[in-house]
């Protein structure tokens, strides 16, 4: 029985309907004569409380509400990559064909092109036993993404009774039939999955491999692992969006899901115009061939904003289940939390801190728990991961507000943005004293195996210079730098060089925007060697003035933008020049 009720009350995105005793919690419903899409979020007697994903302007008591029988779900199959969706997986390109430049209401479209033909290659044969999660065959979704057609995770398994042969099919074609105890099940190239329910997997592992983002302050100082969680809080203008764009562009994952959750329209447009022209540094293909966008901007309906996070993470899990490393960035989780607060307010729930509902923390926990490195269901064996990174926009830039404080409890990498750094145009303005990574020791092995086993000690040495500078800053503020002994003046000098030469990174500079692990390592080593040599030079009688006067310093600081990844031998030349200049100061023996 589908529910058939009538609207009794409307206030913004919230609608109450009576006659809804057949409705289920979280069921999607069609609201009003415009057939707006809504979701049941509370049931009291025969009254359903519905959040509506489209503008309710003009909606009136008495109009019908009809259940659909199923919860809010996404369609999972070939055709998702390269799309831009709204918060409930409606493709914005198709919407514009129907309603023009502005988003109209009551428009129905399918999330992917159901008529497009894909070349399907089966990987099972009649008689094979299959279970949930097994791969039935593959199609080439983009040049980058080989899309595995999966037996849905809630399938009961069985024997393959029929399977399509090599050929071109649209995704509505029944490509396989399974049989179990006499009942046959038809399978297509897609299935649907409810967004609020995490997709199951076989086993979960600790993350051990870094997600290389090409951003030095992240990879070298506060790394995140594939399958890990990270959060980037900051006041407006401190660099949340730019950092997330950088991760979406350069991370070494196979699939990227970018969620614009209650943020600016132009920022989504920027991704749409930029990504097709940018090449994935790992494969050389246009970035759009691995990217999915979910855009529910600030002025789009607030309930769909709440859903957008779930839509995005479900798509991410689906590509994970094929054996991909997927990174999902969400800008901004605070706007999602505000959507939650708005609906909670309309439900007249008892608010906890700052009007947010008491279940804010558990919702955040549930979301970040959907990250992980896993062994997928079914065979063949495959490993995939979902890395989750969320921006947080604390009101007034105050990190003690509820969304920030609760998020911190559920993530392991914390990139604290600092308005003071942003004001002085130190970008990315990630504060190195307040940020941390819980993955450092887990991923150090990767650096040893792939780059150098000196990586961790060098990283720690550089970091200790920054820490010492931080304590010295207090003294400097009171007495001036000249009050310090020479070795401490050196700390200030080297810290300044690390800030300019490594921590700062200009996203809009063609060279600086991406920094390979190898270049990161070489820059790190160059600066630490500078420090070691300078310490020795001081011991042997040189002064800080001699050291500051070294002309190589300027080349060291500009190396990040003047020396591209394919000319790293130039960094060796800079290092040689540095050694030369140290020799000239007091003839010290140099470390290399």
């Amino acid at each position: 029985m589908v529910a058939k009720g009538k609207i009794v009350w409307v206030s913004g995105p919230a609608v109450k309907a009576d006659g809804m005793s057949d409705a289920k919690m979280y069921e999607t419903v069609s609201v009003g004569s415009l057939n707006l899409i809504g979701e049941v979020i509370r049931l009291t007697g025969d009254v359903a409380f519905i959040q509506v994903y489209e503008s309710t302007s003009g909606l009136r008591p008495g109009e019908p509400v009809i259940g659909t029988g199923s919860p809010l779900s996404v369609l999972l199959g070939p055709g998702i990559i390269g799309q831009i969706y709204d918060g409930i997986q409606r493709p914005l390109k198709e919407l514009s064909k129907k309603s023009g430049s502005f988003i109209g209401r009551g428009v129905t479209t399918t999330p992917v092109d159901m008529t497009k033909k894909y070349k399907f290659t089966p990987t099972v044969k009649v008689g094979d036993d299959v279970q949930a999660g097994n791969i039935l065959g593959t199609v080439e979704e983009t040049q980058l993404i080989k899309h595995s057609i999966l037996v849905p995770p809630d399938h009961h398994g069985g024997k393959i009774a029929s399977i399509a042969s090599d050929g071109q099919y649209d995704i509505e074609t029944e490509i396989a039939t399974t049989e179990k105890a006499g009942t046959k099940t038809q399978l297509k190239m897609y299935h649907r999955w409810p967004v609020r329910k995490p997709r199951p997997y076989k086993q979960r592992f600790d993350p051990t491999v870094p997600l290389i983002t090409g951003q030095r302050v992240i990879d070298t100082f506060f790394p995140i692992a594939k399958g890990g969680t990270g959060s980037i809080p900051g006041a407006f203008g401190t660099g949340k969006t730019v950092t997330l764009h950088q991760i979406a562009k350069w991370a070494d994952s196979q699939v990227v899901v970018y969620i614009g959750c209650g943020e600016r329209g132009n920022e989504m447009t920027e991704v749409l115009v930029e990504f097709p022209h940018l090449k994935d540094p790992h494969t050389g293909r246009p970035l759009m061939e691995r990217t999915v966008l979910v855009a529910n901007t600030s002025n789009m309906p607030v309930a769909a904003r709440e859903a957008s996070i779930y839509t995005g993470v479900t798509i991410a899990e689906y590509y994970r289940d094929m054996g991909n490393h997927v990174v999902l960035v969400a800008d901004s989780t605070s706007r999602w939390a505000e959507a939650l607060r708005e609906m909670s307010g309309r439900l007249e729930e008892m608010p906890a801190e700052e009007g947010y509902p008491s279940y804010l923390a558990s919702r955040l926990a549930e979301f970040y728990e959907r990250a992980g490195r896993v062994r997928a269901l079914g065979s063949p064996e495959r490993e995939g991961s979902v890395t989750l990174v969320g921006a947080v926009s604390p009101s007034g830039g105050d990190f003690t507000e509820p969304v920030t404080t609760h998020t911190i409890r559920f993530i392991k990498t914390f990139w604290a943005l600092d308005a003071r750094l942003a004001y002085s145009r130190h970008y990315p303005s990630i504060n190195w004293m307040n940020s941390y990574s819980g993955y450092l020791s887990d991923i150090a092995k990767w650096w040893s195996a792939n780059i150098s086993d000196e990586w961790l000690p060098l990283r720690n040495e550089a970091y200790s210079v920054l820490q010492r500078e931080d304590t010295l800053k207090e003294i400097v503020r009171l007495l001036g730098p000249e009050a310090l002994p020479e070795e401490e003046k050196l700390i200030l000098e080297v810290a300044r060089m690390i800030k300019i030469g490594i921590l700062q990174q200009n996203s809009f500079d063609n060279v600086d925007t991406y920094c390979s692990p190898k270049k990161q390592f070489k820059l790190l080593k160059l600066l630490v060697n500078f420090y070691r040599n300078a310490q020795r030079a001081l011991k042997e009688g040189a002064t800080i003035t001699d050291i500051r006067a070294m002309s190589v310093i300027s080349s060291m600081l500009k190396a990040r933008m003047e020396i591209p990844d394919d000319q790293l031998d130039k960094l060796d030349q800079v290092e040689a020049l540095m050694n030369e200049q140290f020799k000239n100061i007091v003839g010290v023996k140099v470390t290399t």
């Binding site: 831009i84 430049s101 203008g237 132009n266 989504m268 002025n299 307010g345 007034g396 145009r425 730098p481």
Partner: protein, 461 residues
């Protein structure tokens, strides 16, 4: 604007603050326009905020003063509020609800547009890239304004935000006059003299006939302020997308808008967010600011310059805070600079133009534009540190390089930032001033610009 047709009810259950609660309502819809008629026959407009169970909560734009439970009538129009638009609106003055205020008849409408607009499909936006020359060095050089951008001025009481906005409107209009350029000005709860200043400034530059003014003054009804920016933007969108004009919209003062919103929220007894402002203030403001932009396949653009005064000069106050989270940067005026008599008193370090990077550079302005701007930010920020240090240790405790940075700070404020209210500088002049300031430093200090630009533009003083 009198309503034709509609359904009339006369059972008023409650009047509180700006709200009238009408009882026995049968066919009202959410968001629809309502006309309230007082016992004296006076008509006021309002809209439905909530409807159900036979009741409708109506927000009365012109306030509830003088309304009584008995004798008041409410007519429900069956449609949302619209604004009549046509090319004839240019040169006209309207009140805060979009009714003629200049003694002339209502312009003949070629269209009626819903004042709330609809969200632009992000897929249909054209990314803003066209540089608008304002002739103000600090803006053109370091905080470039781009067509379709929303760039607010964050000010404080008594500072020169109106003078700056008017200068920008005048000078940008001059440059753009070859193309179709228009100014839409919305006064939201500001004093008569401030609105008058803008009008005169537009008049003197000859831009008034290309302008549309909406005036809700300090003594006009507060709740009307919810509508003023929306009618203004509806007209701006029409001029931009239907008539292909490049429209600059000035909204002043958005703080008064947010206060009107708070008043309604309080009357509805909603759970407040920070400082009593409703939890949905961010979303609500976005429905105004996100109406800036450009659309694929259409010629015009809507550029917004909202002005807001920061209560107690506090940038973390919810109004500037939530605005900054939505707009594409902010121009922050600094009390210190203002006290020093510097015009425009722009605190560049706290200011930002997010779209500048896309509007400048090779082929748009000049290849070094972004990098020299970055160097100026760096230099001025170092200058501030050194100034603070010299307060403690005196000039004697500073190194030679530190002293150069002090000089950079002084030159920046005196020669680059400061400029006359009618001084219209070319971009060439602005960039030359930047290089002149940067050249106070030794070359080795310029680590934000590539060597090739140093070779080309650096001139040791």
């Amino acid at each position: 604007m009198t309503l034709q047709g509609g359904i009339e009810y006369s059972k008023i259950a409650e009047i509180k603050g700006p709200l009238v609660i009408v009882d026995g309502v049968e066919r009202a819809s959410y968001d629809e326009l309502v006309e309230i008629e007082t016992t004296a026959g006076e008509k006021r407009l309002g809209k439905v905020l909530e409807v159900g169970n036979g009741k409708a909560v109506v927000q009365v734009f012109e306030g509830t003063t003088g309304l009584s439970i008995s004798g008041t009538k409410a007519k429900f129009s069956g449609k949302t509020m619209t604004m009549p638009v046509s090319a004839e609106v240019l040169g006209r003055v309207f009140d805060g609800l979009g009714r003629p205020n200049d003694g002339l008849p209502e312009p003949i409408a070629s269209k009626f547009l819903d004042i709330n607009g609809e969200p632009m499909n992000p897929e249909q936006r054209e990314y803003p890239r066209d540089f608008i020359q304002t002739g103000v060095s600090v803006i053109d050089g370091m905080l470039t304004l781009v067509r379709g951008q929303k760039l607010p001025i964050f000010s404080g009481s008594g500072m020169s935000h109106n003078i700056l906005a008017a200068q920008i409107a005048r000078q940008a209009a001059v440059i753009g006059s070859g193309e179709e350029f228009a100014v839409v000005f919305a006064a939201i709860g500001v004093q008569f003299s401030e609105a008058q200043y803008f009008k005169r400034s537009l008049e003197e530059s000859g831009a008034l006939k290309r302008s549309v003014l909406f005036l809700n003054l300090a003594d006009d009804p507060a709740i009307e302020r919810i509508i003023t920016p929306r009618v203004a933007l509806t007209v701006a969108e029409y001029l931009a997308y239907d008539l292909g004009m490049h429209v600059l919209v000035i909204l002043t003062d958005m703080t008064n808008y947010a206060e009107a919103l708070r008043e309604i929220s309080a009357a509805r007894e909603e759970v407040p967010g920070r400082k009593g402002y409703p939890g949905y203030l961010y979303t609500d403001l976005s429905t105004i600011y996100e109406r800036a932009g450009r659309l694929l396949g259409r010629k015009g653009s809507v550029t917004q310059m909202p002005i807001l005064s920061m209560p107690a000069d506090d940038i973390t106050h919810p109004i500037p805070d939530l605005t900054g989270y939505i707009t594409e940067g902010q121009i922050v005026l600094g009390r210190d600079l203002f006290r020093k008599g510097i015009y425009p008193p722009v605190n560049v370090l706290m200011s930002l133009s997010r779209i500048m990077k896309d509007g400048v550079g090779e082929g748009r302005t000049r290849g070094d534009h972004m990098e020299i701007a970055n160097q100026m930010y760096d230099g001025y920020s170092r200058a501030q540190e050194v100034r603070a240090l010299s307060e403690i240790v005196g000039k004697a405790g500073l190194t030679g390089v530190d002293i150069k940075y002090m000089d950079v700070g002084d030159a920046f404020e005196k020669n680059f930032l400061s400029q006359g209210v009618d001084e219209n500088r070319s971009l060439e002049e602005t960039l030359a001033l930047e290089w002149k300031t940067a050249s106070i430093l030794p070359k080795g200090e310029l680590n934000k610009v590539k060597d090739k630009f140093i070779d080309q533009y650096y001139k040791a003083n």
